[in-house]
């Protein structure tokens, strides 16, 4: 750590989960053959005209809502002019003067303290084509050209790399849960830039800032900010200064490096996009979109804890969207949620990870799951027996009872039957009975082991222990 106070702002680009592109009806897809998802609009052919995708507007409204932004009711698009091969129109259509969302916030939790990260604005824009540099040539793939983006810009209100990471995790979680984006940083559907400057005291004016572009993971955002603070501190400590600059995080060096950017590059001459008239956002549209927002992560965590699930498990459930949705479908049921969460996060999650499946890929319907939870809860099914039948539970449509019968793991719940087994064990082990009566605790454990062995784990352990104790006394 250095003796400086850091000021950090973060800009995030997020690709929206639409079927088609923002201004054309070609497919919005990833990982397909280069230049196979384009039409004349994406390629910037002369004479073509953009038309705004309604779903883009809806998803942007949704994003503005979950980020607690105010929503602009009347807006337009602007042209950002620059020459670069990633954009053959020589301008990018974006929102400069009238961003759809503004004055929002996201609440994060740092060391148990809540902090609001303020959002300056969020706007809609088109993605550029993807360029890959190979030695002396650059290869262009226009599949990404025209993919809808929202850019979310925070105020410079963060002061540690940890806060920036927490903010990004929270942002990602909110956008994922509201189905706005798949937020895969490794595929570029979520990309982060960080602005960093440092100063000695709060009362000092802001110093020169450096922008770190296109950081590929949330942990690297933290690391690159940390490294950048150290770099700037060294410069100031040596009595030197530096020019505003654009840097990038180098994975191999694990440090930020200066990027080659033309100094005249930042003169974009924005002006209103004349090909797209005003966009009016009606209250009806906002209300309709708001209704589509599912229960968000913070509310889910609270709800789960209210139902008796431990905080650590509530957090784990929210990390897995499909498990969380599955559980949400059960919220009105009268079941033991502690047992339900243990099941979901334990044996079921292990099965899903091993088989690379989502819970929705299994045959575990709501009704069968409730049955399973109840059977576990009243000890009709033991954890040991569950392991033996789990594959069948998740892969066949048969009832839990049927599967238990088939696999011969039916618990003996009949008092009389258990008593018979126990009497037999007592008769066969007179030495252990004598030990027990002489006060050796281990003897009863041995006898219980024999009962379990005899029944192949098929008795309710608590019930068996009660009866055994009763019989011994």
């Amino acid at each position: 750590m250095t003796n400086y106070i850091a000021t950090i702002g973060v800009e995030v680009h997020v690709e929206l989960k639409t079927k088609t592109k923002i201004f054309s009806n070609s497919k919005n897809g990833y990982g397909q053959m280069a230049n196979s998802l384009t039409n004349v609009i994406d390629l910037g052919y002369p004479g073509t005209l953009p038309t705004l995708n309604e779903e883009v507007l809806n998803l942007a409204i949704k994003a503005a809502t979950v980020l607690n932004c105010k929503i602009r009711k009347e807006m337009h698009f602007d042209r950002k002019n620059y020459f670069y091969p990633d954009n053959p129109k020589n301008y990018q259509i974006t929102q400069f003067a009238t961003p759809i969302g503004y004055d929002g916030y996201v609440e994060i939790d740092v060391d148990g303290k809540k902090k609001k990260i303020y959002i300056e604005e969020m706007h809609i824009e088109e993605d550029t084509c993807k360029s890959t540099h190979r030695g002396e040539k650059t290869l262009l793939d226009f599949n990404r050209a025209g993919v809808p983006l929202i850019e979310i810009v925070t105020k410079p209100c963060m002061s540690t790399p940890e806060e920036a990471k927490k903010y990004l995790e929270k942002l990602r979680e909110l956008l994922l849960y509201s189905d706005i984006s798949d937020c895969k940083m490794e595929e570029g559907s979520m990309r982060a830039d960080a602005n960093v400057s440092i100063r000695k005291k709060e009362s000092d004016p802001f110093n020169t800032k450096a922008e770190i572009k296109n950081i590929g993971s949330i942990s690297n955002v933290g690391l690159s900010i940390e490294k950048e603070i150290e770099r700037q501190a060294k410069i100031y400590d040596a009595g030197e200064t530096f020019k505003p600059q654009t840097r990038r995080f180098d994975d191999k060096l694990q440090d930020t490096v200066l990027m080659r950017v033309k100094e005249t590059g930042n003169d974009y001459r924005y002006f209103p996009e004349p090909d797209i008239p005003f966009v009016i956002v009606t209250d009806e549209r906002i209300e309709k979109v708001k209704k589509e927002i599912p229960m968000l992560p913070d509310e889910r965590r609270l709800k789960y804890q209210e139902l008796g699930i431990a905080e650590v498990n509530a957090n784990k459930i929210v990390l897995n969207r499909s498990i969380s949705d599955y559980l949400n479908n059960l919220l009105d049921e009268k079941i033991n949620f502690k047992t339900a969460s243990n099941l979901l996060l334990g044996d079921i999650q292990a099965y899903l990870n091993k088989n690379e499946k989502e819970i929705t890929d299994t045959t575990l319907t709501k009704e069968r799951f409730i049955d399973l939870v109840n059977k576990m809860d009243d000890n009709t099914l033991t954890s040991k027996n569950l392991k033996d039948i789990l594959d069948k539970v998740l892969e066949s449509d048969k009832s839990i009872s049927e599967i238990m019968k088939e696999c011969n793991v039916e618990n003996i719940t009949d008092d009389k039957a258990i008593k018979e087994v126990i009497k037999k064990i007592i008769a066969e082990n007179p030495e252990s009975v004598a030990d027990y009566k002489a006060g050796h605790d281990r003897a009863i454990k041995y006898l219980m082991g024999q009962v379990m062995k005899e029944t192949k784990g098929g008795v309710n352990p608590k019930m068996a222990m009660d009866i055994l104790t009763e019989e011994l006394n």
Binding site: L52, N81, K137, T138, F142
Partner: protein
């Protein structure tokens, strides 16, 4: 009102437009571009212009497009239209400035 743009202003505009200009042209554009700017300035004199930003000559809401896939171009045709290509990629020379735009 000055009669012409400065030399630096002309060079800046040329740089943004990625065009090379000769000494002769610089002098010519110093005068010509200033004339154009003066003409555009006249629009500011129109009364009420500042009240609202004029984007389109009509004020109704834009027509939105349904999020439904349409026909796309054959990738072969896309590539044929570029001067150079490498596999299915369009190929261009490396340009300084690793990430412009978005």
């Amino acid at each position: 009102m000055k009669e012409k743009l400065s030399r630096e202003e002309v060079l800046h505009v040329a740089e943004l437009a990625r065009i090379a200009v000769t000494e002769e042209e610089i002098e010519k554009y110093q005068v010509e571009l200033k004339k154009l700017l003066n003409d555009v300035e006249k629009i500011n004199e129109v009364k009420g212009y500042d009240d609202e930003i004029l984007i389109a000559p009509w004020s109704h809401n834009t027509d939105l497009r349904e999020d439904k896939e349409g026909e796309m171009l054959d990738p072969k045709k896309v590539i044929e239209n570029a001067p150079r290509h490498s596999g299915n990629y369009i190929q261009v020379p490396v340009v300084i400035g690793e990430s412009e735009g978005a």
